[in-house]
């Protein structure tokens, strides 16, 4: 996943600068929509969904602090145990979950993920949040929305809308995990069964 082959079937849609600009724009949008810099605003918390959502959430938090001066708590929410397709396919390892101190009750939780596709991951995240506490609001920020929704789920903050066909796949590379920032489109020659996210 971390090779920039640029070979047959792989096209870079967003380069490193594009990603940085997009992250900054989302950060501004979050500040504006939640009014987190005003004194009586509902506190905001960012929870990244592993793996890609976690470094993304941290970068967003850093940008939000840079632009607004507010240090927004950041955590991770692994949704593996709430997936609806666990019994199919091989055993999946669990990823870390860290809920910032104070919990999620009465808070505006902004879920952060790199790619939004079928919506099942977010649905699982909503189920998980339900068992953890009762947020005041739940919002969703994604870097890329590639369409193909299978559930009535929408994002509040979208970095880039990238409609794709079923024979294509979107890969988000992030500095913290892959060594560089990019969004790539992969063409597949044969029709293959997707694993929608």
């Amino acid at each position: 996943m971390s090779e920039h082959t640029g070979g047959a079937g792989t096209v870079e849609l967003l380069g490193s600068d594009d990603v940085a600009r997009t992250v900054a724009r989302i950060a501004h949008q979050i500040i504006e929509k939640t009014a987190l810099d005003s004194p009586d605003a509902t506190p905001v918390m960012l929870l990244g969904i592993p793996s890609g959502g976690v470094p993304l959430a941290q970068r967003l938090a850093a940008k939000i602090e840079e632009f607004s001066g507010v240090a927004v708590p950041v955590g991770a929410l692994d949704i593996t145990l709430y997936r609806d397709d666990l019994r199919r396919g091989p055993h999946r390892a669990l990823k870390p979950t860290t809920i910032p101190a104070g919990g999620i009750d009465g808070v505006t939780v902004v879920l952060v993920d790199d790619v939004l596709c079928s919506g099942r991951t977010i649905r699982a995240a909503l189920d998980a949040l339900r068992d953890i506490g009762r947020p005041e609001n739940i919002q969703l920020a994604v870097l890329v929305d590639r369409g193909h929704r299978q559930l009535p789920i929408r994002a509040d903050y979208v970095g880039k809308n990238l409609p794709t066909s079923r024979a294509e796949d979107i890969t988000v590379l992030l500095e913290a995990i892959d060594g560089r920032d990019a969004v790539e489109l992969i063409h597949h020659e044969d029709t293959r069964e997707e694993n929608p996210r």
Binding site: D78, L81, H91, A93, L94, P96, T97, G133
Partner: protein, 314 residues
Amino acid sequence: MKHLLSISDLDRDEIIGLMDEADRFREALEGREIKKLPTLRGRTIYTLFYENSTRTRSSFETAGKWMSADVINLSASTSSVKKGESLKDTALTLASIGADAIIMRHPSSGAAQLVADWVAPGGVGPSVINAGDGTHQHPTQALLDAVTMRQRIGDVAGRKILIVGDVLHSRVVRSNVDLLSTLGAEVVLVAPPTLLPHGVEQWPVRTTQDFDAEIADADVVMMLRVQAERMQGGFFPSHREYATFFGLSKARAARMKKDAIIMHPGPMLRGMEINYAVADYDTTAILQQVNNGVHLRMAVLFTLLVGDSAEAGY
């Protein structure tokens, strides 16, 4: 991984994988009011205990229920076993009822393996988890011990672990020796020769009778329960003699390294292998062991029951 019968069946990656997943489960449940995960909803787990146990059985039951499984407890004294039903028939009955997993504790070594062979020939059938078979293995105990050690002293590779007491009759020891040596720890067994199995020479351990010589640089001191009945078998001459040479007294505990910890698989015989007061020291990790037990057992259930096993069988 289809069954969990013995630590000797697991490789290093599998062991660490289970330990890591135990930590993930702890994180997932931390601070929550609703201790419930939907992951095993609709799965039916039977605990089949031929020996009494509060600790292990309730730990497994809690683990299953927190994952939304239906957990049904069977004990030999109230079941058809009393009417003379064979182990094989009991096991096959549970498989036919529709058990997804059978967690069993039995006084005969090898019982869990036999049940696994009977209920899941060719790897198709319920998963069997060995909660202790005779004097053979107690895999989840060793795993939760390892999780506890890692929490308190970090990576066990190269660290010195003392296990003191009745090695001969202990299934916990055999599992721990397998696991700790796989993780690269130095294991020293402290026991009188009568309580060491003939054949321990082939184990990847050192054995000694000199507790005092070993305690000062040990990172973990794990005490095993010693049954008073062993005096009758000539294993040691008296309670006093055993406690003097192999008990964890205050004096011995005082000589331990600053960050070393005391562990015990339970139940403890205060005053026999461990001084009454010492059992409550901060250096003990005994209650932590219990706490980790539930998360570790959740990880085991998750690993065995969820997702196709890429490699069939165990």
